[in-house]
């Protein structure tokens, strides 16, 4: 089984539109939307939300006013400044470490499990999909990403599917690291802008840090040919193959408004032809075809 994770560092370079386009092309595949913070893939793929499961990701401290003697021990031990002078805990500042719970001499702090979000198993017109919704202002996005990737893998094994397409989150932090562990390869969607390049380099460094092969595609490459050349040079220097370039094409937005992939909307558009080429290039890339330890298939 292989898993391709689509990342970019910078947001808005076209990760989700390109993932959806790949979904149109790929066979025997499970989709996984690992951008649990601001998931968008479902807007194109229209999943049926066959199964909804609550995500319990942590705990939250709550002071029981009846037992509290206002001794101030919790204020003293909380490193996150979450206990207010009124002996209430600010749920936004609370990290859920439970230190106040364990150290309260009156045992006056409850520690209920919090529901941090939901995750879903769905069917789409392209195949099964695992996706999630992290609750607003919740923590533990990395845990939720790890969880849904694990579920996507289980689903793939159960249905005998040999590819997982994962739409990753922006950035290089907790949820991104959670989205790449044990992946076969990463596709970095870059764009020829100063920020697109800067952020691609950071994701490239991350992939190297975790030893996962990365490749690059350049979206909107004709926006700034000079910067496009710069991306090619940087990618080459970092041994990241450039698998293709996509023109600045409004087809992506038009298709998105119709809740379609670019192939469904117009399979002959410039972007469609370029994405098809990229997909073929990825499938024939050695790093994407390296033999997998057969026992790992069961994990």
């Amino acid at each position: 089984m292989r898993e391709l994770v689509i990342l970019s560092g910078k947001g808005g370079t076209g990760k989700t539109s390109i993932t959806a386009a790949f979904a149109s092309l790929a066979q025997n595949m499970v989709l996984c939307d690992a951008d649990v913070d601001a998931a968008d893939l479902h807007l194109i793929l229209k999943p049926d939300f066959k199964k909804t499961i609550e995500f319990k990701g942590g705990h939250e401290a709550v002071i029981n006013k009846e037992l509290c003697t206002q001794c101030g021990r919790c204020i003293e031990v909380c490193r996150f400044g979450a206990v207010k002078d009124s002996f209430e805990i600010d749920p936004i500042d609370c990290e859920g470490c439970g230190v106040c719970v364990d150290l309260c001499p009156e045992k006056a702090i409850d520690f209920p499990e919090t529901i941090c979000g939901q995750w879903y198993i769905s069917n789409t017109r392209f195949g099964p999909m695992v996706h999630a919704r992290l609750g607003i202002a919740q923590e533990n996005s990395g845990k939720l990403v790890a969880l849904i990737r694990g579920e996507a893998k289980k689903l793939a094994i159960k249905n005998n599917l040999d590819l997982i397409l994962t739409d990753g989150p922006p950035g290089i932090g907790c949820p991104v690291i959670a989205s790449i562990g044990q992946a076969t390869a990463i596709l970095i969607v870059s764009e020829p802008t100063v920020s697109g390049i800067h952020d691609m380099e950071r994701v490239g460094q991350l992939s190297k840090h975790f030893n996962i092969p990365a490749m690059v595609c350049i979206n909107k490459y004709d926006l700034n040919p000079k910067q496009t050349e710069k991306i090619m040079a940087i990618a080459q220097k970092a041994s990241m193959p450039v698998v293709g370039r996509i023109s600045f094409d409004q087809t992506f937005t038009e298709a998105m408004i119709q809740a379609q992939t670019i192939f469904e909307y117009n399979h002959q558009s410039q972007a469609s032809m370029e994405v098809r080429q990229i997909w073929d290039n990825i499938l024939s890339l050695p790093s994407f075809n390296a033999p997998v330890n057969p026992i790992l298939k069961h994990l």
């Binding site: 845990k143 990403v145 969880l147 959670a178 562990g181 044990q182 026992i295 790992l296 069961h298 994990l299």
Partner: protein
Amino acid sequence: MKIAVSAQGKTLDSSLDPRFGRAAYILVVDTETLEFEAFDNGNNKNAFKGAGIQAAAMVSDKNAEVLLTGFCGPNAFQTLDAAGVKVVSDQSGRVIDVIQKFKQGGAVYAEGANKDGHW
């Protein structure tokens, strides 16, 4: 000698659980008498982080000298190594069969994790 085995159930007939940190049970077995204790690893199973570390600390705590499992991640391996517990990974099948095979000798002890870190 006492050995630990990651297991899907709490008897020697159950299948070995290929996961270690997230195994359903960890059985600590006396290889001579085949007497054993089953430890519910449920808390760890649902933990998101550090499951392997906690399971490894438990194995050491129960005086097991060897762990038989499927996959052992880097944190768990480091902990077991520090505790002097040897690891035999890539095991599968019924727990009892895996133990019998181990008793015949010739087990190859792992020199490192055989699985990437988990997130």
